[in-house]
Symmetry: D2
Subunit: 327 residues, 4 copies
């Protein structure tokens, strides 16, 4: 293969004998923001996604010599996202990601593996007054939305031409228990000054990923939308209903509740920052702040405890990477 | 007044005859994060605020010579926020800000004017299964919350010892109409390439401030919580119910609806970025994307149209600053 | 004027007799990211700007009826930014903003006032090894850059057809004095617990705006690039060289130094958050942390003192808005 | 072990026979912001770090029953960071992290593995005028700093009681070549519309991690500060000096240059977003934008190409996780 033969350009090929190897690599277009509106008469539906494509395969040459002969441009992967949204619709983020991953692996010989990551933003309908409807359906009931703004829903689809891995999840779901949390009986060393707590606020910003047992086309596919709603509900309820002696215990209960109730899920990974709420010392001002009713807290930013763990179905292997955050 | 007389320090006083004057100035502690939990039996309530204090007054000396003789430390203003949350509770952000502003102006002779700004974060209850209740009320029904995460509620209280100004509002409320929006009949000059649109998405991230007619203790105070809920509702409904020929028209209707329905409000200011959703050109792929059903859009980040305006009650004077954003 | 006459659409005009007025309003395209590369042989130069356009004028109709007959689309204002960057170049952000503002006010009859805001990002050259130069100038010396990443340079140009206002400045310039700062002699009330400090860290993130005395074409225009470099230098030196008894004193000296040295500037506004560095109490671990050498600090995020003031040339009127931040 | 025996609390222990296992888990205090100032006479030095601690070990009980008997509180890990900064100083981020990791693993029997992550912020001296020195050294030359604000330096130390892994790196270093970049000869499928480019801007925001060959106390430790400076320099020079036919080729050269020149480094991982600068089409306005001099570009935010790869010393095993970002 000849590359870079236009006159006046240096030869970019590596020095022979250079003691360097190429390791894992991937490329693609990240953060393609695609919105699709479907109309069911006057009632509209929104799918609002942020889609990132990563392709791997026979890519040695583009790194060592700059030859793009095996490179489908990232721009093309972007175009494919938008074209597929039109051609196939977006039934769910997971289904859409599966369509995309299959396409790249099966249509491009040099591409051996595709990973699709999707963020999904949720919208809810604006309740209208009913008093302003016009001939054009101006009352907004079916086509007016406010972004929910709570968690961001996530999914990651990986396909290597043989088997599938689907990991869904969410981030930025902030929850609080204003009681039923304690923390005591811990190790004390030379640097320990923390006092035991018998009634504290427990708050966290949930980042969770769960892996489905679905790996191949011969299995029945889960109902991705229903699965998400139920998994989220069990997780929230476990948080609310657990009398907590440590954030680890709450985390483990959140994961176990999902494994208990959702057969399609084999593994859950959590990253839970402890959003500290410190009781303010008001004694210098002659005020007591130790009665549960009317307690005043300082909500701290940094530093924060960070609790991370994987909860698995018995006998399953852990496959979700352990670093959901970079800190 | 003598300052800075400890040996070995330079004289910080200004050079006499320097042609420099001090203009408007203010200081205080910003972003005091205060959370207060009240308990009504097993049912708890949260107030979650971010409070910023700004004091003005007889502060020439601290600027020109460094004398702090008139300076209440910003640390003290922080302490006051937390102490007041305990002593007086937080009935509403507005009521809390009024308490604080009155305190600083009336208790400190050099302080002539106080401005309190508050951000409020809203929480909603987690629906529990009812199946896991324990003796400690472990079912979470009354003490478990998820942050709503939609808009951030805002208020600003200003007091100069004589009259009050209360400006409330919100930011980051993202709304969309998937139809009933057009844009045509505009000016065309040498640099105009935009095509007319007869059915487009209209989406924006609402930043709004509204000024109350309440200015003094002799007037009856509005019900701040009820006022917020109703103002937000009218604003959303106006957005949903307006058949829009321009974002300006929608903005004006949103403001007018508030003025129409909320007697306690005299002025509204909006800053509405036009969150563009562009129809993707899919013709190169042999796909049509011009049918309303199943249309696919690219949600763009930058640049964006930015529409800003004030809507006033007839005969009232505009007092809300026109720059809600820095761009 | 007839608008919105296509069948099936509601009449958007306001209800007659509605007690509502339109106040100040403006619109335009915000955050147009324009980069221009000029080549001086193998030596290239970058101008990297973020340009926001805001137009005001005879815009009543677009708000009340949705008629766009006076509306130059925001998309056109974007096109104009890019076209002007090609046609006229970008000598400086200020000069570029002046070109744009003049164009909109003079070419569009309904537009009476234009405000251009610009952020500028600075790049510096990458020092190359000189060992790898190829025929194409591959050594990078003239065309390879790293973003400086320190402050963001700002300017705002306002033109109403008669006179000009130019306010330049910067944001996000983080500075620290590790000594020569004290804070004592302050007011103490019931809520004061702060101890006096005789040797503390003083750190802040400078946000500053300065207004030029240049208001019209009959005056000689300042050298905008030189003015920025010198103003920044005086500000930094004043910060470094001031023995500080309060952040207010440092602020005032920073402003005064600019007024003293830069005849073209009449007014400076600062917003200086006090980036607190608290000495950590290490006594529980048997460690002293009160010796100046090797002192260990906790760098706090929130809350923070916020000090804001205007410094003016004697006899000048303050015109920079006092709210540079929203907190 | 008995936990949670205070009356009125539910039994938190797991249901026997529940088909759930605990997988990898870790906990600790994240984002401890520690600043240490050392004084060499009037010349001061800053170390400004953000330290995150993650501990793993015998932690089954705290997850399943809430017993904290093996849990050193995250608050204690925070205290240790500050105490160690005083006791041992901060010679480098790497050296500091090694101290901390060794401490937790060797002093707490249940803790088998520690990971310390550190971000470091760089400051440079403010050049003073020399004209304002006072008795207190008020000229600022030795104690006045401005934050460099370019890249953030990173390191991660992992210790399991036997061997060490040190991975250093940086993020947010934005670089640009304004020429010497092409992109052509790529695969074209049904969705490809991109045109070939023979002279384009190549810009990226470098995120890089490099792993040292140092794994144990019997080896001589690298000079961490010198290593960082040289590695960064080689990386920047490789970016500048490479005539690029693809961002992959530039990435590979950046990694290879490090492997070539820094014997202490065995592996490098890059995540390089392609910060697209698109030539603006100015033909509709009668302007040509295809001459290299004075070309005008639109700097796009999203979507962006994302190029990620590992470069290894021949014969070494890849150990840096392949997901440096979450997209």
């Amino acid at each position: 293969m000849t590359v870079n033969t236009r006159p006046g350009r240096p030869d970019p090929s590596g020095t022979p004998g250079r003691p360097v190897m190429l390791g894992q690599n991937q490329y693609g277009k990240a953060e393609n923001r695609v919105v699709r509106i479907t109309r069911d008469g006057a009632t509209h539906h929104i799918k609002d996604l942020n889609v990132s494509v990563a392709l791997s395969g026979d890519m040695e040459e583009v790194h060592t010599s700059g030859s793009n002969a095996n490179v489908l441009p990232t721009d093309t992967t972007k175009n494919t996202v938008y074209a597929f949204a039109k051609e196939y619709g977006i039934e769910s983020a997971e289904q859409f990601g599966i369509h995309l991953a299959r396409h790249f692996v099966t249509s491009q010989e040099p591409i051996h593996r595709t990973r699709i990551r999707i963020e999904e933003y949720t919208w809810e309908r604006i309740a209208t007054s009913g008093a302003h409807a016009g001939p054009g359906g101006g009352d907004g009931a079916g086509h007016s939305f406010v972004r929910k703004g709570q968690e961001t829903r996530l999914t990651q689809i990986t396909y290597d031409g043989e088997s599938w891995e689907v990991v869904s999840g969410l981030k930025d779901l902030v929850v609080m228990n204003s009681t039923n949390s304690e923390f005591w009986g811990f190790v004390k060393d030379r640097y320990t000054t923390l006092k035991e707590a018998y009634d504290r606020i427990l708050a966290t910003q949930v980042s969770a990923r769960w892996r489905f047992d679905w790996t191949g086309d011969e299995q029945e596919m889960p109902d991705w939308e229903e699965s998400y709603e139920q998994t989220r509900r069990h997780m929230l309820q476990a948080f609310a209903e657990t009398y907590s002696l440590s954030l680890q215990q709450t985390l483990y209960e959140m994961g176990s509740r999902i494994i208990d109730h959702r057969d399609e899920i084999d593994e859950v990974r959590f990253s839970l920052p402890n959003k500290h709420h410190f009781l303010v010392d008001l004694e210098p001002f002659g005020l007591e702040n130790d009665t549960p009713d009317g307690a005043v807290y300082f909500a701290a930013d940094r530093p924060y405890g960070l609790i991370e763990a994987t909860v698995l179905r018995d006998g399953c292997e852990a496959r979700i990477p352990t670093d959901l955050t970079n800190l």
